[in-house]
């Protein structure tokens, strides 16, 4: 049943690709905030990735992937016309705002905060709001200017697009959480909701900042997963003192209730094995793709 064909592939930034996959059932059912799990081939790992865009009529699902280890490198080595072995979704709960009253949402002052590859998952959410006439601001962080992705796409959705780079090569000089603090304290911006997506560490610090500033916030967690259907418990996270399975209870949670230190620690559980696998993979392909 090889239907999951790669229809398009684009390099967005060094090591970050967007891919359009033919997956009609997923394209039809997906809502903002949800993710898929794919397996490149019959020996492959199940890799969770956020759904970044869909084109229902064409049955297309767009994912954006950063090649960080063996499995994601293998994925980005595939080309247009190749098939992905397995592709299942949409998984997880859609973003809470999907069920909110549009009128109420239009009154809210919303800020999206994205970091690194976490920039891409903001796109479907921002697009969903834009299509419904809901206004929002976006603050994006990256290490350096070259790593900023989807600038053009985002600039079509909002006039309030801010950047922060660690090296100061573009926009605010510093981390995205510092940029947000600057917007609120020095630029007089006010927000009633902040949606934060990015690497765990970035989410942790940004959540601390928005808590200090009194802005209710949502994060989209990306713990280690296996099945993604609630069967294994690998994805468990502590939210407000309770254990939750991120793949079925999330992936989005109240940012101020998440135990980030535990989440970060759990995400590194397989680090040693993975570094080894990555090393093996690079040797296998002769180090063609650098990590």
């Amino acid at each position: 049943m090889a239907i999951f064909e790669i229809l398009e592939k684009k390099l967005l930034a060094p090591n970050i690709y967007s891919m359009d996959i033919l997956a009609p059932r997923v394209a039809k059912a997906a809502l903002p905030g949800q993710f898929i799990i794919l397996r490149v081939d019959e020996r492959g790992e199940r890799i969770p990735l956020t759904i970044c865009d869909t084109k229902r009529e064409e049955g297309r699902v767009t994912i954006v992937v950063q090649a960080v280890g063996a499995s994601t490198k293998q994925l980005v080595s595939k080309e247009v016309g190749d098939y992905i072995r397995d592709f299942v979704g949409p998984l997880g709960k859609p973003s809470a705002f999907v069920n909110e009253d549009i009128g109420e949402l239009r009154k809210k002052k919303i800020l999206f905060a994205g970091g690194g590859v976490g920039t891409a998952p903001i796109f479907p959410q921002a697009k969903w709001m834009w299509e419904r006439g809901i206004d929002f601001h976006i603050a994006l962080g990256a290490r350096t200017r070259d790593l900023i992705i989807l600038e053009e796409e985002f600039s079509k959705l909002t006039d309030n697009l801010y950047f922060a780079t660690d090296d100061g090569s573009y926009g605010f000089h510093g981390f995205v959480n510092a940029a947000i603090e600057d917007l609120v304290l020095n630029e007089g911006k006010e927000y009633d909701l902040c949606i934060i997506i990015g690497p765990m560490v970035m989410m942790k610090f940004t959540a601390m900042t928005t808590k200090k500033l009194g802005i209710p916030s949502i994060v989209s967690l990306n713990p280690i997963m296996v099945d993604g259907t609630g069967m294994c418990g690998a994805c468990r996270v502590t939210v407000g003192g309770e254990t939750k399975f991120a793949c079925v209870d999330g992936p989005e949670f109240d940012a101020h209730l998440v135990d980030f230190d535990e989440a970060i620690r759990r995400q590194n559980q397989y680090r040693e094995v993975e570094i080894e696998r990555d090393h093996e993979y690079c040797q296998l392909v002769g180090g063609l793709i650098n990590g």
Binding site: R25, V88, P90, D227, G230, V237, T243, R277
Partner: protein, 464 residues
């Protein structure tokens, strides 16, 4: 060999098998099977049959083995069960068919399961196929989940002439047979996948990577033109103890550990999915799942302890598996219960605080209730903890299907064994009973197929 002694069967040597994932029990040879079959008294009113949940005609198939007509034995089995090679291996026979075998009164019961396995394996090896299908009726039925319940329901329906499609959430069909029960107890390539291929040959279509309730809803399946739906979604949600330290690094559910090893094949060098086993593993629980997790960890090179709060007598696991586990050097710690999992500075498991237990009065399950002995707390050093405390059904389907009722443990409510509160929707297996056995799930699937056939026939005659 006298009539009261069971024909011995060969096992892989424990010292060898703890280093591989090959099957532990090697099965009867033709001569051994005939010898064992000849012990059967071919009782006129066999006491073994009523305790088999699918009422296999046990004396009949055993008589064929005794005659040396193994194909005929397999053909008889196929009339009653869709997965004889599986049931012969994993049924808790000592609690079922073999429990009441008349020979058991004076000596050892017939090895019914092992003979069933023998005939089924023989048929697989020889490529014999038994499925018959009636003329296509032009009616479509969908099945959710491809575990034993879904498989046997689909098989029954396709042989009644229905067009059947199974929707499976994972990337490979088989349910617990693929992701839970390990290779060394149930070979995947040689047995499970072959049985599933058979199903496809009979015309059953299987679409993997479809999570019903997310990818499509029950309503959308009806809209796709299916007239009835059977839900065999199992009981996949792992239970944790809710004790401190459960989210430390190195604590896994048995489902995660076994899924990594079985479904994702992490025990093989060429698989991408990692698995982590420490040096000293503790498995909490005493059922089949606990034995499987313990024996898997042993094969991955660890010293393995089983922690169970009652005594050996109350272990719910199959006897054979307990014996196998002991031979493989699993260390049993009875009357012990964990209170807390302890971590090091970096958040990895370093030990467990446990308490000793004693047995009190019998509880509602008929087993004596374990009671903590005050002041008996102690620290048990361990670096990996695997929780094998049971599972509950996943709430996804009742949550996303209007009119489908479930109880407080997410078990789907049914009438007459399989009719749900939603018209045209039937259910069976672990999602109705809570975690049970392969053969019970199969029995439920088969029964539901009959009910579905009646339901569709009745609808037609009402229309006419």
């Amino acid at each position: 060999m006298d009539r009261y002694t069971r024909t011995p069967i060969s096992y892989q040597d424990p010292q060898d098998r703890i280093h591989n994932f090959e099957e532990v029990c090697l099965g009867y040879t033709e001569e051994e099977a005939i010898e064992e079959a000849n012990r059967c008294l071919k009782c006129k009113r066999p006491s073994c049959v009523p305790l088999c949940p699918v009422n296999i005609d046990i004396p009949a198939f055993i008589a064929e083995i005794a005659k040396g007509d193994f194909g005929e034995a397999a053909r008889i089995l196929a009339k009653y069960t869709a997965l004889p090679a599986v049931c012969g291996r994993v049924c808790p026979q000592e609690e079922q068919c073999e429990k009441t075998c008349i020979l058991g009164e004076k000596g050892e019961a017939i090895a019914i399961g092992k003979l069933e396995r023998f005939a089924a394996d023989w048929a697989i090896e020889k490529g014999l196929k038994f499925g018959r299908t009636e003329e296509k009726k032009g009616h479509r039925v969908a099945v959710v989940g491809s575990g034993p319940a879904g498989i046997s329901c689909a098989k029954e329906l396709v042989s009644l002439g229905y067009e059947v499609k199974i929707f499976e959430a994972l990337h490979e069909p088989g349910g617990v047979l693929i992701y839970g029960i390990p290779e060394f107890r149930l070979p995947k390539e040689r047995i499970v996948r072959v049985e599933i291929e058979r199903l496809k040959e009979l015309g059953v279509e299987i679409e993997t990577n479809v999570v019903v309730g997310r990818t499509v809803t029950i309503d959308e399946i009806f809209q796709e033109g299916y007239e009835a739906i059977f839900i065999g979604s199992g009981a996949g949600l792992p239970v944790f103890m809710n004790i401190p330290g459960e989210n430390l690094n190195g604590v896994f559910s048995a489902n995660e550990f076994l899924t990594r090893c079985n479904l994702m094949m992490a025990y093989r060098k060429d698989a991408e999915t990692p698995i982590r086993v420490g040096k000293k593993v503790s498995v909490i629980g005493g059922g089949n799942v606990a034995m499987d997790a313990a024996r898997t960890a042993r094969r991955l090179g660890a010293e393995v302890h089983l922690i169970y709060r009652r005594t050996e007598k109350e272990l719910p696991a199959r006897l054979e598996e307990v014996e196998n586990a002991k031979e493989e050097g699993i260390i049993f710690n009875f009357l012990t219960n964990p209170l807390e999992i302890l971590g090091d500075e970096e958040g990895w498991v370093r030990g467990m605080k446990c308490i000793r237990m004693e047995l009190g009065e019998a509880d509602e399950s008929g087993r004596r209730r374990p009671i903590p002995i005050e002041g008996s707390e102690f620290v048990f050093e361990t670096d990996t903890v695997i929780m094998a405390l049971g599972t509950n059904p996943n709430p996804l389907l009742p949550m996303t299907t209007a009119g489908l009722q479930a109880d407080d443990k997410n078990r789907i409510k049914v009438l007459e064994g399989c009719i749900t509160s939603r018209e045209g929707v039937f259910a069976g297996g672990d999602n109705v009973t809570g975690s049970a056995t392969v053969i019970l799930a199969m029995g439920a699937g088969k029964k539901a197929a009959k009910a579905i056939d009646e339901y569709i026939s009745k609808k037609l005659s009402n229309k006419a």
